[in-house]
């Protein structure tokens, strides 16, 4: 490989770094993770829990 061409090796990293830098501009929540909220999307995860202050409300909610 000629002296000039070999310097393309480090330059190959530049587009990858550019793509990752582009990531700062996008909203990651637009494309969900396979794991986040996975059980919650299924019908058997629909129950909503008591919210804060939960100790007082929990008893009320349960009875």
């Amino acid at each position: 490989m000629s002296r000039l061409w070999r310097w393309l090796i480090p330059l190959a990293a530049v587009p990858v770094l550019g793509l990752l830098a582009y990531g700062f501009r996008v909203d990651p929540r637009a494309v969900p993770s396979p794991l986040i909220g996975r059980p919650r999307r299924s019908p058997w995860q629909r129950s909503r829990g008591p919210r804060y202050p939960w100790r007082r409300r929990a008893a009320k909610w349960w009875c």
Partner: protein, 648 residues
């Protein structure tokens, strides 16, 4: 006082790490031993300071010091003692502290191990290690300060992420981070080799065991992560191709490739450039993984936050890649291999193929992980890459790798004769073909499952053949069979440790195949006293009960499960309501078995306790994954042991 102590220690550690890095490099360049010695002292001091930081942070958690923002955001008065300890590294800032501490630990171990035996490379390697430590301490000082004060002082903290309230939080991050940070040592030596121009075998000899150590911990971390996903997340699986899983899997793939390819350099003086590139790639991927989970650019179950830290990591990743690959280009001429490939039918060509498949797998995982970014950048569309893509591309690659796992260790170096191929492979191939027929006759209809199981039998047969030949050879010298096999494992621990790792991977393969091919599940709503069935099991809904724990309310359902063979068991899946969470967290209940696990997840329920929806899964052979993982880590541990000189 605590925040000031911790923050002050970090600033001093940063100054010392920077000094040590510069002193080691200048000392190596000018030959001034006092500078190198000063860098060694700096490394020890940085380790002491990082240990102090970790202890101070742990103390702040244990004493509920809510004046520290990080403590207030990740614990509350109800958090049990042991989760207060794991909360130390449960979020962004603390995870970086743990990471930095481990790097400092590796640096001190490097000083202890190599200050006398790798004189030319050691100062440069120390300089690189301390530079990496300095970067992580810089992150702790500016974008992710763990000791930042919070005012006004809150009466209670926010609490830990409930998904992290698990014993796996003790072992999983520690193993995973020891793996990630461990790859810094081979990287440091590789850079030292490039900086000095000594690109021969010295850096490989120095780093062989470090690489196995890092690989061992990364494997263990992945395994515990899978177990955590299986029994905590409650979705019924152990691997979802989530970006955080991929982030740890990619360096594992390239690290595995490296473990194999260095053998070719040691034996045939080939692949010098490739090995250095693999080390740089593996270290780059560990940084990429850190960037991925801490920059917020891609959603993940483990994504910590969005903030300035992403820019820090990306800049460092850029610096590392450009400088390391630049050095690689600079030394291009010296990196030409001395040997050549004599034949396609040789061990070096199977190892080469193994490397191509492993790197191809890493590339496809990388592509799938960043594809949402790529699609948005190029087309402006939002695309999600799911398990079907990863499975479709990787399953053929992994099956090919399993096949090579059988061929590689037995085929001859340089050129294999037809005679040796017959001697080594007729029996294992026959075993594999026979196994395929038997599995088909037993009713296994999935071609992929038959192929995977037949390949595992083939590889297991090659291992058994090699071990029996070597044992018989020792027995001819008068050793008893067990003593002969034991002596082989201990005296040739690198080879047979590798074989044990291969056996572990085979057991994992059986587990993955079984869980994909034969697991069954159902969802049903039952009234109290009603029952339903799945795969020979009957499960009856007995009722609900609610109980308060220190930091949550748990609603637990009771299901009596019977299968007509053993006595009935009661499984109690639950839902936990945490004050800091808007939706409840499912707590699965399960019964693990050798051939199948019974796995229950509570769904919707009537508040009067008369009715509940439950998801029941009968997961086949999943336990084999954990058993295989255990065998794999034992094999890696065996390979780490020093090989006895003149072993026969």
């Amino acid at each position: 006082m605590i925040p000031e102590l911790g923050g002050g220690a970090l600033v001093v550690a940063l100054v010392l790490a920077l000094w040590g890095s510069i002193a080691a490099a200048v000392g190596a360049r000018t030959g001034r031993a006092t500078l190198i010695q000063s860098a060694q002292h700096a490394a020890v001091a940085v380790f002491v300071l990082m240990t102090a930081c970790l202890l101070v942070l742990a103390y702040a958690f244990l004493t509920f010091d809510f004046s520290v923002r990080y403590v207030a955001h990740n614990t509350n008065l109800g958090t049990p003692f042991y989760y207060r300890l794991t909360a130390v590294w449960g979020a962004l800032e603390g995870s970086i502290v743990l990471w930095g501490w481990m790097l400092a630990l590796y640096t001190v171990l490097l000083v202890w191990r190599h200050r006398d035996n790798a004189r030319e490379l050691f100062p440069w390697a120390l300089s690189v290690m301390l530079a990496v430590v300095a970067f992580f301490v810089l992150v702790m000082t500016i974008p992710a300060p763990p000791f930042q004060r919070l005012a006004p002082l809150p009466a209670d903290g926010r609490g830990l992420n409930p998904l992290l309230e698990d014993t796996g939080m003790i072992t999983h991050p520690i193993a995973l981070y020891l793996g990630f940070t461990g790859f810094t040592v081979p990287f440091a030596f590789a850079l030292a080799a490039l900086a000095t121009g000594r690109v021969g075998d010295a850096w490989i000899t120095a780093t062989r065991r470090w690489t196995i150590v890092a690989w061992y911990f990364l494997s263990l971390g992945l395994l515990i992560g899978g177990w955590w996903s299986y029994h905590v997340l409650g979705w019924g699986g152990y691997w979802a191709w989530d970006p955080v899983e991929n982030a740890a899997f990619m360096p594992w793939l390239t690290g595995t490739a490296l473990l194999h390819s260095v053998m070719i350099q040691e034996r045939r003086r080939m692949l010098k450039l490739w090995n250095l590139a693999l080390v740089i790639l593996t270290f780059g991927l560990t940084l990429f993984g850190t960037f991925l989970t801490r920059s917020g650019v891609i959603a993940s179950v483990h994504a910590f936050t969005q903030g300035a830290i992403g820019a820090f990591f990306l800049s460092f990743l850029g610096l590392v890649l450009l400088s390391a690959l630049g050095l690689l280009a600079l030394r291009w001429d010296a990196l030409r291999g001395e040997g050549t490939l004599d034949s396609v039918l040789s061990r070096e060509s199977t190892f080469l193929l193994n490397n191509v498949f492993l790197v191809a797998a890493a590339f496809t995982v990388f592509l799938g992980t960043v594809f949402p970014l790529l699609a948005e950048a190029l087309r402006g569309t939002k695309v999600s890459v799911g398990a079907p893509f990863f499975n479709q591309v990787n399953v053929p690659l992994f099956l090919s790798l399993i096949f090579l796992m059988g061929v590689g260790p037995l085929i001859a170096w340089r050129r294999a004769s037809v005679e040796s191929l017959k001697r080594n492979f007729v029996l294992p191939v026959s075993g594999g073909v026979a196994a395929a027929l038997v599995f088909h006759l037993l009713g296994v209809r999935s071609a992929l499952a038959v192929l995977a199981l037949a390949l595992t039998v083939f590889v297991a047969a090659t291992v058994a053949l090699d071990l029996s030949r070597a044992t018989r050879a020792r027995m001819r010298r008068g050793e008893a069979p067990l003593a002969a096999a034991g002596a082989l494992l201990l005296r040739h621990n690198r080879r047979y440790g590798g074989f044990l790792v291969h056996l572990g991977i085979l057991v994992v393969t059986v587990g993955v195949t079984g869980s994909h091919a034969w697991s069954v599940q159902t969802e049903t709503t039952l009234r109290r006293g009603e029952s339903a069935g799945l795969a020979g099991y009957r499960f009856r809904f007995d009722g609900l009960e609610a109980a308060e724990a220190s930091n949550h309310l748990a609603v637990t359902a009771a299901f009596t499960v019977s299968n007509g063979r053993a006595s009935n068991v009661v499984l109690r899946p639950a839902k936990k309501f945490y004050p800091q969470e808007t939706a409840p967290i499912a707590a699965v209940d399960y019964r693990l078995g050798f051939t199948e696990d019974l796995y229950l997840v509570l769904g919707d329920f009537a508040r009067d306790g008369t009715q509940a929806t439950v998801k029941v899964q009968v997961n086949r052979l999943v336990s084999w994954i954990w058993m295989g993982g255990l065998i794999l880590t034992l094999g890696a541990a065996l390979a780490i042991l020093p090989e006895r000189k003149g072993a026969r």
